[in-house]
């Protein structure tokens, strides 16, 4: 598969502040790649470097097979983090101007604008000034403008920044539609739910480098850890439980399984039942991806969280995750996944 984005040894500093310190990144055609990182990690800097707004101190960038980034911009759609537009235009006027900048013929442009306004649900407000539109509408306009030339590559920076839960859901559903059109996407975010919902692969950008890359399918839905709330646990019982595996830690009224697996959970529950201990609750904690992310950002080892190459474990996990997501999963992700399940059921029904 051809790589749409190739970044090698990229460094970038602002004065004495070094932001990127040797980033290596490859995004294949048709792939949706999520770049996770805390605020200030350099995600937006990387996007601006890919667009040619910034120049690297060293390293190599090739986008769509070319190092001439300015020349490639027509094939790139860009949705910035803080979406600010020219307030004294209507969405239709604004898109018309942008299409003309792109050199689109007028007849094609008019048709395309109608399609995009329809897709983003902005047809009703197409002739209202942008300053009168809600933040959610402005975010959707961001998607419309990015898709104007039907670009090969979409660079999306913190798409749901500043939106309420409904707005986030709406936008992510829309981005999921976009994703299914086969665009290559680089999504920069610090929201794990967005990555889990939209991305094929995720890279964690920390300390100026992509410290870790994970296939999202391998960790999607995986609960990171489980807390079993119990009645009082005496010392011998706690020692017995901790003997099951190094993933298990006990205190006086709880057992923590981290990273969680259904096998370990079953063993713990068995021991607790045999010991006639009251089990008050099972509380899933952070998702696996969240754990991986947090440990990577803190510079801690993640080996025991990366279980993707252990086929039997994966099989067990896949079996375990097929049921509906737990209540403790990110509320946005939960809503999105429920919607996706609904959609696929509807689709199956039609077929």
């Amino acid at each position: 598969m051809t790589d749409v984005i190739v970044v090698e040894g990229l460094t970038k500093s602002y004065g004495h502040v070094s932001v990127l310190r040797g980033v290596h990144l490859r995004v294949a055609a048709g792939e949706v790649y999520g770049l996770l990182g805390p605020n200030g990690a350099g995600k937006s800097t990387l996007i601006h470097l890919l667009l040619g707004f910034l120049y690297p101190d060293s390293g190599r960038i090739r986008v769509l097979g070319s190092a001439d980034l300015e020349a490639q911009r027509r094939q790139i759609g860009y949705i910035p983090e803080r979406q600010r537009y020219h307030n004294y235009y209507t969405p239709r006027e604004y898109l018309t101007f942008l299409g003309r900048f792109d050199g689109m013929p007028e007849t094609i442009l008019r048709k395309r604008i109608d399609e995009l306004l329809e897709l983003t649900g902005l047809t009703a407000v197409a002739n209202r000034y942008l300053r009168t539109l809600s933040k959610g509408m402005i975010q959707r306009l961001g998607i419309a403008q990015a898709l104007l030339t039907d670009p090969d590559l979409l660079l999306i920076d913190e798409p749901t920044s500043g939106l309420d839960l409904d707005g986030q859901q709406e936008l992510l559903v829309l981005l999921n539609d976009v994703r299914q059109r086969g665009h290559t996407v680089l999504l920069c975010t610090h929201r794990l739910a967005e990555v889990e919902y939209l991305c094929d692969r995720v890279g964690i950008l920390t300390n100026g480098k992509v410290a870790l890359e994970v296939n999202v399918a391998d960790v999607r839905h995986m609960t990171g850890s489980m807390v079993v709330q119990t009645g009082p646990l005496d010392l011998p019982l706690r020692q017995r439980l901790e003997m099951i595996g190094r993933e298990i830690r006990c205190d006086e009224q709880a057992v923590v399984i981290s990273p969680h697996s259904p096998e370990l959970q079953a063993k713990v529950l068995q021991v607790l039942i045999e010991a006639n201990v009251t089990i008050r609750a099972l509380e899933p904690q952070l998702s696996r991806l969240a754990q991986i992310y947090m440990r990577t950002v803190r510079g801690e080892p993640v080996d025991n969280l990366l279980v993707t190459d252990q086929a039997p474990l994966r099989a067990v996990l896949n079996e375990a995750i097929n049921p509906a997501p737990t209540d403790d999963i990110d509320p946005l992700l939960k809503r999105l996944l429920q919607r996706r399940e609904g959609d696929s059921r509807q689709k199956d029904g039609h077929q």
Binding site: H48, E70, R82, H86, Y88, Y89, L98, F101, G103, T149
Partner: protein, 259 residues
């Protein structure tokens, strides 16, 4: 080159439409009316061309600096990233802002001239004379606009901006520290004075077309070859400023101000 030109014109239209709709032009219009009322209104005594172009020669560049500042403000916003991501080159972006600023000033100059023509007839000026005298003035407007763009934070970093400003100050200093100070300095260190005068001469060279252009529009005399040569020099200087601004803008990281 053609693509850049086309994009620059498109961007000019785009910028001007926002400029008009946002009502920013009211400030310029107020300045025009104020300039007319204070300096060019009918006073009972006939006005001559020299006086008109003395006022217009100051009005034009001042308004050019102001309007270009506004346009740079419009260009130096995060909204610019969206525009640039739509296949607009950096050069077209900058030139578009320049065109927009110049057009606004030219329209305002036109309004000022119209007000004068309608209410306060200039005794020694016909239509052709008006047009010819306006030529160096218009080029000066372009020059001041280009210089303002060059010296804007959008184009030059702080260090370079201060450096260029220092060069301009040094070029203009021959008028300020001409007589007594230079004489005193000559007694202390003649070599330093020689160096200073050489630097002043070199640096003030590019400014000559601006001042001479101002004189030409006031005198209204276009019979000498040097007058036409000065128009060429003004045009060349304008292209040089724009070229320098474009080069500097191409070389730097694009980090728009967050308002």
């Amino acid at each position: 080159m053609i693509r850049t030109g086309k994009q620059a014109i498109l961007l000019t239209g785009f910028t001007l439409l926002e400029y008009l709709r946002s009502g920013r032009f009211f400030l310029e219009l107020t300045i025009v009316i104020a300039s007319y009322v204070v300096f060019l209104r009918p006073t009972g005594t006939p006005m001559n061309a020299g006086y008109l172009f003395t006022v217009a020669g100051i009005f034009g560049p001042v308004l050019a600096i102001l309007s270009t500042g506004f346009m740079i403000g419009l260009g130096d916003r995060p909204q610019g990233y969206i525009i640039l991501s739509h296949n607009v080159s950096r050069g077209a972006y900058l030139i578009g802002l320049f065109y927009a600023a110049c057009l606004v000033v030219l329209v305002m100059y036109g309004i000022l001239c119209l007000l004068v023509a309608l209410t306060n007839r200039v005794v020694d000026l016909d239509l052709i004379g008006w047009f010819l005298a306006s030529l160096p003035l218009i080029l000066n407007i372009g020059l001041f606009s280009a210089l303002t763009i060059l010296l804007s934070p959008l184009v030059l970093g702080t260090g370079w901006r201060l450096f260029v400003l220092a060069l301009i100050a040094l070029a203009l200093s021959s008028n300020v520290i001409g007589g007594p100070i230079i004489n005193q300095l000559e007694e202390i260190n003649p070599f330093l004075v020689t160096i200073l005068r050489a630097v002043q001469t070199v640096l003030s060279g590019p400014l000559v077309p601006i001042f001479y252009g101002y004189q030409i529009s006031i005198s209204g005399s276009f019979s000498e070859v040097s007058v036409w040569a000065n128009l060429v020099a003004q045009s060349s200087l304008l292209l040089a400023f724009l070229g320098l601004a474009r080069y500097a803008f191409n070389q730097r990281d694009l980090i728009f101000s967050v308002s």
